[in-house]
């Protein structure tokens, strides 16, 4: 069992957890993730390690309540435990001094973009962050992102805070203003990552995305997370999760992520129903 040291909501439905996991805290690098299993009947869910404190022996994860498991996780409080946390998994982000690096986070993807943005800053890059959310109340990690950025932008789809529009519009604006950009990292929903790849492709800007296929073991033994990169099949859990955005078959990823849509809905509804019955909802 892995003890939760702290649990706080960053926005509606988005919760940040600090979890005791000393071996993982000591080892993890930016871009890596853990697989968690909330309870003994639970499924294995991949979540990016947003931060770690090797001295305290804790890691930080940020979860958005989307399906049954993440909603169940988001009901956990400090002092509660989760059954399993395994990691760090995946290949760490490739970090070097590219020059000017733009880190783009969409929604809860910001939590994934943050550790890599921080590592890019530490490697000497001029870091620009673009942090996108649907509306003001869903903006997360604003201060953290600012602290690791030379320039920080917030965009909201409805214009309720910061730049009114999508992250891609802000990125296009930066490119059009003649800013020399050497590297772009984009993490968020699949359509957003695809849109960023489409913006940078004509300019030949090296662009990396962190993919989020369905995973089970996370150690390379099942191929459930396989993605098409160029013409090759790769396993996101060991070869990734970060890949060259201009080589990714985003349509295939989106198609494959829909396989359990029906079951996810069923499990989610059953969970909500059970919570209401037990008065926890």
């Amino acid at each position: 069992m892995y003890r939760i040291v702290s649990a706080i909501f960053l926005a509606e439905n988005i919760k940040k957890f600090e979890i005791e996991a000393p071996m993982i805290a000591k080892k993890r690098k930016a871009g890596q993730f853990v697989i968690v299993r909330i309870n003994p009947n639970g499924e294995r869910v991949p979540l990016t390690i947003a931060d770690s404190d090797p001295e305290k022996g804790t890691i930080t994860i940020i979860a958005q309540g989307a399906g049954k498991s993440t909603r169940e996780l988001n009901r956990k409080e400090a002092g509660d435990s989760i059954a399993d946390v395994v990691g760090p998994l995946g290949t760490p982000s490739h970090i070097e001094n590219f020059g000017t690096a733009v880190s783009i986070g969409g929604g809860v993807g910001t939590a994934i973009a943050y550790p890599t943005a921080k590592a890019l800053k530490e490697a000497g890059n001029y870091v620009i962050t673009i942090n996108g959310a649907r509306s003001k109340d869903l903006v997360i990690l604003e201060d953290e992102m600012k602290a690791v950025s030379d320039e920080a932008y917030i965009t909201t789809d409805d214009g309720s805070y910061g730049f009114n529009g999508f992250v891609t519009q802000k990125l296009q604006e930066l490119i059009d203003s003649g800013k020399k950009i050497d590297f772009v990292l984009a993490i968020g929903p699949i359509p957003m990552m695809k849109a960023v790849a489409d913006v940078t492709r004509p300019h030949g800007i090296k662009t990396v995305v962190s993919l989020n296929p369905i995973m089970i073991d996370g150690t390379g033994m099942c191929g459930g997370c396989r993605v098409t990169i160029g013409n090759e099949i790769k396993f996101a859990c060991i070869d990734g999760p970060e890949f060259d955005a201009h080589q990714v078959d985003f349509k295939n990823l989106a198609d494959r992520n829909r396989i359990y849509q029906h079951e996810e809905k069923e499990a989610g509804e059953a969970f909500e129903h059970a919570c209401k019955l037990h008065g926890q909802g």
Binding site: R37, R44, I216, T219, M221, G223
Partner: protein, 471 residues
């Protein structure tokens, strides 16, 4: 030979396709004693050499004949701590029972069924037949992976008096025994109970540790003070066929399918959170002809598939699966499409699989493996309509260990290279065995390799050469 080989009762095929309970029900005590009387107690029991872990077969069978079932299981556990498991999953027809002298004229003694019987007897009786453990040597060995190779290595090391810590990447112990072999062939409760026996011997288990990611082999030796390391991580990297359409929705590896169903208990969704492809009333094809393919296809049938096909490019004679499993599959209504190979997968505009374009084959001249090579028949292509495709053409080696421990030599196939007499790798103090060395093989061969490594590790650590049953 007046006594016929005792037939093990089994669940009726019609009934068992509707559940995940064990197919074979085990011998009764009377049957076991009868069967034991068929053993003629050869002076030179060749059956022992046929067993990769060299169980003293004649001795344990004699004890069964005398009605001393606990004595029999104690005798087995000197060499193999997993009798309930091995009695179920070993291919005895290729090993101990193949060389049984009785088998020359009659059916061989049912060694596997007898081993299973006494293993089950111990657990059901509530008594313990734990092997004796030598006084502590103060030496520590790390065992990576908790599958069959690791468990048998750990068992011997513990009996020699060394401290053993097993590191497992998944949340459950047992490797392929847990995620690969289905409940209806090997109930998971049995695996857990046999593992408890290892715990009582002082072996420590640590789950959720991925060696190569959470900690490296060098760190285990240099920082954590392990005197030796045994690598038994298996061959768990699934191969795909590399044909068009393999990334369509509904095409998955047998490893993924079986892991969801066995380890994550997706057959009991939504009581367990992990979903699996809804097979009810669907057509499911498994591509391959090994034991994994049989496990997958019988699982699909139990999940309600209307058509569950085995698609195999050679004929039934060349199938690597056990005869018993092929027989069981046929009884359960599995459809065999032999001499058939897929060329590509086809799907609808939502990228969901709708079929496999297959080609008929005929057998040509023997290839390097001695099996007749399948040759395509021109113009025989057709579309097999299917909703799910499960790829079961074998597994390669996971690259995590050698990526992070570069001084361990690997072959071109990325299997770990060892000295076959000691199972030592190119790195001092590091040994390996099982599928990570041989590629996909059997539970019992992995266990044999684990024992060989344990003997060599014991020698390296200056342990006594005295056999542990004398402690």
């Amino acid at each position: 030979m007046a006594i016929p080989r005792q037939k093990m009762p089994a669940q009726d095929p019609q009934e068992r396709v509707g559940n995940f309970q064990e197919v074979n029900l085990g011998l009764t005590p009377e049957q076991a004693q009868q069967e034991a009387l068929r053993c003629i107690q050869c002076k030179d029991p060749v059956c022992i050499e046929g067993c990769p872990v060299n169980i003293k077969i004649d001795q344990f069978i004699k004890l069964i004949a005398e009605g001393d079932f606990m004595g029999a299981v104690r005798k087995i556990k000197e060499d193999n701590v997993l009798p309930s498991i091995c009695g179920r999953v070993c291919p005895q027809e290729d090993q101990c029972e193949k060389v049984c002298v009785i088998g020359k004229k009659h059916e061989p003694v049912a060694i596997g069924n007898l081993e299973r019987f006494v293993g089950d007897y111990e657990r059901q009786s509530g008594q313990k037949a734990d092997p004796k453990v030598a006084p502590s040597t103060g030496k520590k060995v790390a065992v990576v992976g908790s599958g069959p190779a690791s468990l048998s290595c750990a068992n011997d090391l513990a009996q020699f008096g060394h401290k053993v810590v097993i590191f497992e990447a998944l949340h459950e112990l047992g490797g392929v025994l847990m995620y690969g072999i289905p409940e209806f062939r090997l109930p998971k409760e049995i695996v857990r109970e046999e593992l408890d026996g290892l715990r009582r011997m002082g072996i420590e288990f640590r789950t959720d540790v991925v060696v190569g990611r959470t900690i490296t082999i060098d760190e285990l030796m240099e920082e954590d003070g392990f005197d030796a390391v045994f690598i038994g991580v298996g061959a768990g990297l699934p191969w795909f066929m590399g044909i068009p359409g393999e990334n369509l929705v509904g095409v998955l590896s047998a490893n993924e399918f079986l892991t969801r169903v066995n380890l994550m208990k997706a057959y009991d969704f939504p009581n367990n959170d992990t979903p699996v492809f809804d097979c009810k009333g669907k057509s499911v094809a498994i591509f391959g002809g090994g034991n994994t393919a049989m496990d997958a296809v019988r699982t699909a049938k139990r999940l309600g598939a209307e058509h569950a096909y085995i698609v195999y490019r050679r004929s039934e004679k060349e199938m690597p699966a056990r005869e018993e499993e092929i027989h069981n599959a046929k009884e359960e209504g599995i459809e065999f499409l032999l001499l058939t190979t897929p060329l590509e997968f086809v799907g609808d505009d939502q990228a969901w699989l709708t079929g496999a374009k297959c080609q008929k084959m005929e057998l040509g001249a023997p290839d390097d493996s001695g099996r007749r090579r399948p040759v395509p028949i021109e113009g025989s292509e057709y579309i097999l309509p299917i909703d799910m495709a499960i790829i079961s053409i074998g597994n390669g080696s996971n690259p995590l260990i050698h990526q992070t421990t570069p001084d361990i030599e690997v072959s071109k196939r990325e299997t770990i290279v060892v000295d076959v007499n000691t199972m030592q790798t190119s790195k001092e103090g590091v040994y390996a065995g099982g599928d990570i060395v041989t590629g996909g093989a059997t539970v019992i061969l992995a266990m044999g390799a684990g024992r060989t490594a344990a003997a060599a590790i014991n020698k390296q650590l200056g342990g006594t050469a005295q056999h542990f049953d004398e402690w």
